[in-house]
Amino acid sequence: MDETLKRTPLYRAHVAAGARMVPFGGWDMPVQYVGIIEEHRAVRTRAGLFDVCHMGEVDVVGPGAIPFVQGLVTNDVAKLAVAQAMYTPMCTPEGGVIDDLLVYRMNETDLMLVVNAANTVEDLGWIRDHVRADVRVTDRSAEIALLALQGPRAPEILQRLTGAPLGEIRYYWFRPNVQVAGKTVMVSRTGYTGEDGFELYAAAEDAMHLWEAILDAGSRDGVMPAGLGARDTLRLEAGLLLHGNDMDKTISPLEAGIAWTVKLQKGEFVGAGALRRQKTDGLVRRLVGFTLEGRAIARHGFPIQRDGAAVGQVTSGSFGPTVEKSIGLGFVPPVPGTVTKLPFYSRDRHVTG
């Protein structure tokens, strides 16, 4: 790869902390600081701070913004209240997942989309190809930094840095223009770890100040920086999908097991016809969770066999540091069998029975 890797505004902090850096989606990102398992456990038991500045932010504004995005994504954006967020796939006409994104409703008319780093360019191209006269699309990825503070202690740590009542922000809601450590940020109660926590959208030039302020405010709680390695084991335990691994343009959201994000009744959108057909005809494969009996790891691309014949493929596999088992996701034909109910891990308040 001779393409130069991009650096986030927090690059110097990672190097100073001794992080191991790896290329990810065109960015030079920290995969770990002290160790994946230790960082994973910090997030599950205390708090961890992630640099997710590599994610792309796209403003979609104007009187037609909501109907426009409604026609591009599978979830029902019209149901979003102002200051609410929604997770949704964006599909090809064949029903394959171009990307999975977060949609934020900023006000009566305008939206902000948050897309995966590796897909930012392609998503923007796709969105602009479909754009209409009453909508303006702006890529704001370079000017917006994104920090994720995740873990059971995240609320009290962040509260020390702001007078805003963070407890009023419910899961998948947000508040714009919050003063945190003297900087103006958008505080979103979202994340990709299966824990409570926040994602902070800030000006790129404020990222370093916020990073240091949060680590400082949380030092007595044992907050630590956490890298992409822990982010991956945390999301996998929580049963959250990774685009590019667990789904891509050849896989539909129905096959990927996120049918709850596909609202076929909402009206026409790109991919609706194909997804309706798939629902009527039945699925030929389905993403499931599995647990291995030993500690060896079934990694991305490994075949899944049944009576010696390959029937599917592993899409994600790792050791789950909290569940202390080798876990994974993979595609199998819809045959009866023992699969592990997702998620592998759920924080207490979601546990039933």
């Binding site: 191991r20 994946i36 390695g229 084991t233 790891i297 050791f319 540091p321």
Partner: protein
């Protein structure tokens, strides 16, 4: 920083001569590189190792790596404590996390291994 009394392979295994036997493990360099070791697969007692051929596997959260035999011979002991607690490989690679003990079939092979200085030069700039 690498123990003087050990001999090393370029694949990051160490060998320690103990009378007529040789104890085998992997170096701190390899353990740090792998980081977060979660699984170690070792041969059974009685298995025959062949010089510089794979004899086992180490898996970390992020990567999987073969183990190469620094010497040919029959396995007479394996470290079951390591199999049960693979994470000790990260904390104590030269002592608690030894892997197997073999009775060499061709003890002269040890001469082909690197000494601590040569191994240090081999990992050189790659130092984690």
């Amino acid at each position: 920083m690498y123990p003087k009394e050990l001999r090393y392979t370029k694949e990051h295994e160490w060998a320690k001569i103990e009378g007529k036997r040789v104890r085998i493990g992997v170096t701190k360099f390899a353990a740090d590189r792998l980081s977060d070791v979660v699984y170690v697969e070792l041969p059974s007692v009685g298995a025959e190792l062949k010089f510089m051929e794979p004899f086992g596997v180490v898996e970390s959260v992020k990567a999987v790596s073969d183990l190469y035999a620094p010497i040919s011979g029959k396995v007479v002991e394996i470290n079951t404590a390591l199999v049960e607690k693979p994470e000790i490989l990260n904390s104590d690679p030269y002592n608690a996390a030894w892997m197997v003990v073999v009775e060499p079939s061709n003890p002269a092979e040890i001469e082909q291994l690197l000494d601590a200085d040569a191994y240090t030069a081999h990992v050189g700039e790659d130092q984690p």
